[in-house]
């Protein structure tokens, strides 16, 4: 037996392979029989004839490889030849199938045409060959002349592999889905509220009028592959069910009329595992809806979401810890009607002990207002303190423009003027008895000033008016605080003067009506007074709401003031969006005894009569109620005062038993159309 050295090589099946064996015997031209064996079991695979040439036994063998339906793509063989009784044996050689038939069938096992695939041949982990193709109209494609190695077939988008029907050495037949199932990531399928007035942030994708719609391949079909194509379409309600607002226009980015949708677009995945995204401009109008449908096919049936435009506003409530605030569900309900949510961002409570000594006068005994509990009076004298507290509340930058400072007070009066100086007034009063009421001052007085808790009288003097030659002539003195009493249960704008308490001059003994040598005493008093009472105010983001007894009234006031912050009712100063005309609001008004732009909806229907200014008599309205100058005098036939039913009606009853009906049908289109990016 001679030793033979054979080179291991790979040959493609059905190709001619040159067999060589170095042999010691024989002579050139001698015939030799080659026997080919399978390595796996040493079984004989083939025999061929060869000859001896130059010391080698050589032959050409048409290589036999595994059958196409075999499990393995290649097998190992070796061959031997006997020369002069000596057997020469070759090294192992690999015979592999060079062609692979790739087929695609559908879930019904029928051929599925044009499915794209990528075939890779691997040597270890290294790809030695990559072929991209598709299965053509027949659903089958034969990839030929591949190098040896492991064959992997990957189906490309949109095909999704269900299973392999046949996965053999030469046949790769896959059962496929022609597409993937799309899934909405954000907004999730179903109903979705998008708060279009707030700026979109990473943490709040539900904010912003430009909604970034994210979609992905359903995990069962996932992950996504480059080239996966999402089909997206939008459907809007009829035009008359949408806001008239046109700017910014509702739009799905890239959408146009398609064969498969009135407004549709496609989104291609660029990287494996990536989501598909498309921008949906929702506009700024509240209540507008759009239904967005997505799919892996143009039927767009995989997932859908109905998006409704909402607006979200926030408030920070500042209140006396001792006050019991009414529930605000009515506020929520009223605002929901115009697609606004009013969310409490924070609450700041305080007690008397929390307020600085300079605010001592702001806490007034309940009896001064005819109620049991101590009252917190807020107004010009102390509003700065509350505004500064609001400024310290942490409000995210993105919410700032939409956050209201809602200060709730028990009473509202202004203790100082615009220069922070207390209001002062001076009167002279002629008393004919030793005590009596002063002339009325220009505002209300408190036993302790609201602004500094001091006595309201800043200066005072008295003089006897007795003519020359009469007792008391020329006698005068100072009015002291002991002589002055504020009794708000009887008079709110006057002080009671008691001359008997004068420390000097004894004016009580001089005073009279001019008879019996006693003459009037003229008392001149300068006091600090407060302006009010008021029912609330709104200055940019700061609202001051008086805590009225009625819960409905309180809620309506909150909504009313917020309505003003939302620039309602429409007016020359509260310009509506371009698509809405100011004059199309039939009941907007200004004046008529009220301050600011308001709505008189339903007023003509309920007001039949008008009171005289002093309520002494009433008569029918001259033409119609909305022509009347003073709405606060309008009444029905029974003489009961009436008002408009819109929450933007202008009067401010504190205890009206008939609350508003929310935003009326005239106001709603304007409220819905208004962009609420800022309510400051």
């Amino acid at each position: 037996m001679s030793t033979a050295v054979a080179k291991i090589k790979s040959v493609a099946a059905d190709k001619d392979a040159k067999l060589e064996l170095r042999v010691a015997g024989g002579k050139a031209g001698d015939p030799v029989t080659f026997t080919i064996y399978k390595v796996s079991d040493d079984s004989q695979l083939d025999t061929i004839d060869g000859t001896i040439q130059k010391g080698k036994a050589v032959a050409t063998w048409t290589a036999k490889g595994p059958a196409p339906d075999a499990a393995a793509r290649a097998w190992r063989v070796y061959y031997s030849a006997v020369v002069d009784g000596v057997t020469a044996t070759s090294p192992e050689m690999e015979v592999y199938l060079p062609d692979v038939e790739v087929s695609s069938v559908g879930e019904d096992d029928a051929a599925l045409a044009d499915m794209r695939f990528e075939l890779a041949v691997l040597e270890g982990k290294k790809k030695t060959k990559t072929v991209k193709g598709h299965t053509g109209s027949s659903g089958t494609f034969k990839v030929q002349n591949l190098p040896p190695g492991e064959v992997q077939v990957t189906w490309l988008a949109p095909a999704r592999l269900i299973d392999w029907v046949e996965d053999t050495a030469g046949k790769k037949k896959a059962r496929l889905k022609k597409s993937f199932t799309a899934e909405l990531v954000f907004p999730p399928a179903g109903d979705h509220k998008q708060y279009v007035n707030l700026p979109a942030t990473k943490d709040h994708p539900e904010w912003g009028n430009k909604l970034k719609v994210r979609m992905r391949v359903h995990p069962d079909d996932g992950p996504s592959r480059p080239g996966d194509e999402f089909f997206v379409k939008v459907e809007y309600p009829p035009e008359d069910q949408l806001s008239k607002r046109k700017v910014p226009a509702r739009k799905l980015a890239g959408a146009k009329a398609q064969a498969w949708a009135d407004l549709g677009t496609t989104v291609k995945v660029k990287a494996e595992g990536a989501e598909g995204t498309v921008e949906l401009e929702l506009g700024l109008a509240g209540g507008d809806q759009v239904t967005l449908k997505v799919g892996g096919t143009d039927t767009c049936e995989d997932a859908e979401v109905t998006i409704t435009n909402w607006r979200k506003l926030f408030y920070v409530m500042q209140r006396n810890a001792g006050s019991v605030i009414h529930g605000m569900q009515r506020t929520a309900d009223t605002l929901a009607d115009v697609f606004v949510e009013y969310e409490r961002h924070d609450e700041v409570t305080f007690t008397k002990a929390d307020t600085p000594p300079s605010m001592a006068g702001s806490w007034v005994a309940g009896k001064e207002f005819g109620v049991a509990t101590e009252q917190l009076v807020i107004g010009s004298h102390n509003r700065k303190w509350f505004r500064e507290k609001f400024a310290k509340v942490a409000i995210p930058k993105d919410m700032k423009q939409c956050t209201i400072d809602l200060i709730v007070c028990d009473q509202q009066y202004d203790g100082v003027d615009g220069w922070s100086k207390p209001h002062k007034d001076t009167t002279t009063t002629k008393l004919t008895t030793d005590n009596g009421w002063s002339e009325a001052f220009d505002g209300e007085l408190f036993p302790a000033n609201l602004n500094d808790a001091k006595h309201p009288m800043t200066s005072g003097s008295w003089r006897c008016t007795a003519p020359k030659g009469k007792p008391g002539h020329g006698v005068k003195g100072t009015v002291t605080q002991e002589m002055i009493t504020v009794d708000r249960s009887k008079e709110t704008k006057k002080v009671h003067i008691d001359l008997t308490k004068a420390p000097k001059g004894d004016p009580a003994s001089l005073v009279g009506d001019g008879t019996a040598d006693k003459y009037p005493v003229e008392v001149t008093i300068t006091v600090v007074f407060a302006k009010g009472p008021y029912l609330g105010e709104s200055a940019n983001e700061h609202q001051l709401i008086v805590l009225t007894a009625g819960a409905d009234c309180f809620n309506d006031t909150v909504v009313h003031e917020l309505g003003h912050n939302m620039r309602q009712a429409p007016s020359k100063g509260n310009k509506p969006p371009a698509a809405l005309k100011l004059d199309d609001h039939p009941h907007k008004y200004e004046g008529h005894g009220h301050t600011g732009p308001h709505c008189a909806h339903n007023l003509d229907a309920v007001a039949t009569h008008v009171w005289a200014d002093d309520y002494s008599s009433k008569g029918p309205v001259a033409t119609k109620a909305t022509d009347e100058p003073d709405y606060d005098l309008l009444c029905d036939a029974a003489g009961d005062l009436v008002h408009g039913d819109c929450v933007m009606y202008g009067s401010g009853p504190s205890d009206d038993p008939s609350p508003s009906a929310g935003f009326c049908d005239d106001c709603k289109p304007y409220v819905l159309a208004k962009g609420l990016e800022s309510v400051r």
Binding site: W419, T428, K430, D442, T524, P629, P653
Partner: protein, 397 residues
């Protein structure tokens, strides 16, 4: 009191307008002063300040004080002397107060009272152009009017207009502004700018007279005319009042250039998206400026009445006894007399007659007594008093 100022100096308006209160009030009360006084800064820099502080003083009998509520009733009137435009509004912003039937009020005594008050009139007159010019400011309290306080709105600490050479140059080259369109346009029978039955004779001296029926009844279904104001005047005539043809090109003075820019911005407004608050605010500013330009006569406009040879601004301001929120009627009265631009008379006479209930906001006269005042530049006339009652009211039991 006479012309005594209510402040020590103009600086008080920005720090403590009532600085003299403790000194003035006792003294004036002692002196028996009754009436309404007003003081205002002599000059306000429109670039530095966005406020128009005023300080007032009201001395009155207790009975008067019971009738007049300073917080509710005071009306501020500003007349721009260059254009003779007038703006008026309640001095104090009405506030929401608890509503209810009025309580009976005890009659006032024989005493008196005096109060000093301060307010910022700027937010109350939002349409007043915040541009250089001269204002005559007054307060009205029903049938009482204060003195006029004059305030110059200036720009910058040392405006170029104070340069004598610039002043001379401007005097020589600046083109007069244009008259604003006639308003209201004449109709039959009213409004009219011809004398009618009951029209008063124009005064012999500069002035305005208005004749009103003392009591007017609004008759349901009756004639449209319900509250006729018949006015006549003799007023100064200036070149800017003359009706002139549209100039062939833009005037080249600064104001006209601004005017044209403002008008262009207003036109462009239509094309701007309205969802960006900044853009919206900018558009509103441009619109406001364009309106101001028109109001100030900086933009040529057809006056709308081919027979008009000049147009004289006369503003009627009515303030009611019950509801003082003023009715402002900015008349632009056409002058039909032939006028030779080369030999302009110093004054012209004119007439107007209109139904005050048919002008915008005319409803304010209903069911109350109103004191009407007329303003044109430095000229003020009034009060002319009228009352309007509804026929239905007459029938009331």
């Amino acid at each position: 009191m006479s012309d005594e100022r209510l402040v020590v100096d103009d600086g008080d308006f920005w720090t403590d307008p009532r600085r003299r209160e403790d000194e003035l009030v006792p003294r004036l009360l002692e002196e028996g002063f009754l009436g309404l006084r007003l003081d205002a800064p002599g000059r306000i820099d429109v670039e530095d300040a966005d406020a128009m502080p005023l300080v007032g003083l009201f001395g009155a009998t207790a009975q008067e004080r019971q009738v007049h509520d300073l917080e509710r009733d005071l009306v501020v009137v500003a007349t721009r002397l260059e254009s003779r435009q007038t703006w008026a509004a309640l001095l104090h912003e009405p506030r929401r107060a608890p509503r209810g039937r009025p309580r009976s009020v005890a009659p006032a005594g024989s005493g008196r009272g005096m109060r000093m008050f301060a307010a910022d009139a700027r937010p109350r007159l939002p349409d007043l152009p915040w541009r250089p010019g001269t204002l005559a400011l007054r307060l009205l309290l029903a049938d009482k009017a204060s003195n006029a306080a004059r305030t110059v709105l200036g720009r910058g600490a040392r405006p170029i207009e104070q340069d004598p050479a610039v002043q001379a140059f401007l005097a020589e080259h600046r083109q007069p502004a244009f008259p604003r369109p006639v308003w209201p346009l004449p109709d039959s029978p009213l409004p009219t700018f011809d004398p009618i039955d009951g029209s008063p004779e124009p005064p012999a001296e500069v002035g305005i007279v208005v004749a009103l029926d003392r009591v007017n009844v609004v008759r349901e279904g009756g004639p449209q005319v319900t509250c006729i104001a018949r006015g006549s005047f003799r007023l100064p005539l200036s070149p800017r009042d003359l009706v002139r043809p549209e100039p062939p090109r833009e005037a080249d003075d600064d104001d006209a250039v601004h005017a044209s820019a403002g008008a262009a911005a207003a036109v462009a407004d239509d094309a701007l998206p309205d969802w960006d608050p900044r853009v919206e605010r900018e558009a509103e500013r441009a619109e406001r400026r364009a309106a101001e330009d028109e109001g100030l006569g900086l933009v040529w406009r057809d006056v709308g009445d081919p027979a008009a040879r000049a147009v004289i601004p006369v503003t009627l301001v009515g303030t009611g006894v019950k509801r003082p929120d003023p009715l402002v009627v900015p008349l632009q009265v056409p002058i039909y007399a032939d006028l030779d631009p080369a030999r302009l008379p110093p004054t012209v006479t004119g007439h107007f007659a209109l139904d005050l209930l048919r002008v915008p906001d005319g409803y304010k006269l209903l069911r109350q007594t109103t004191h009407l005042w007329a303003f044109s530049g430095d000229v003020v006339a009034g009060p002319f008093t009228t009352a309007v009652v509804a026929e239905a009211e007459v029938r009331r039991p």
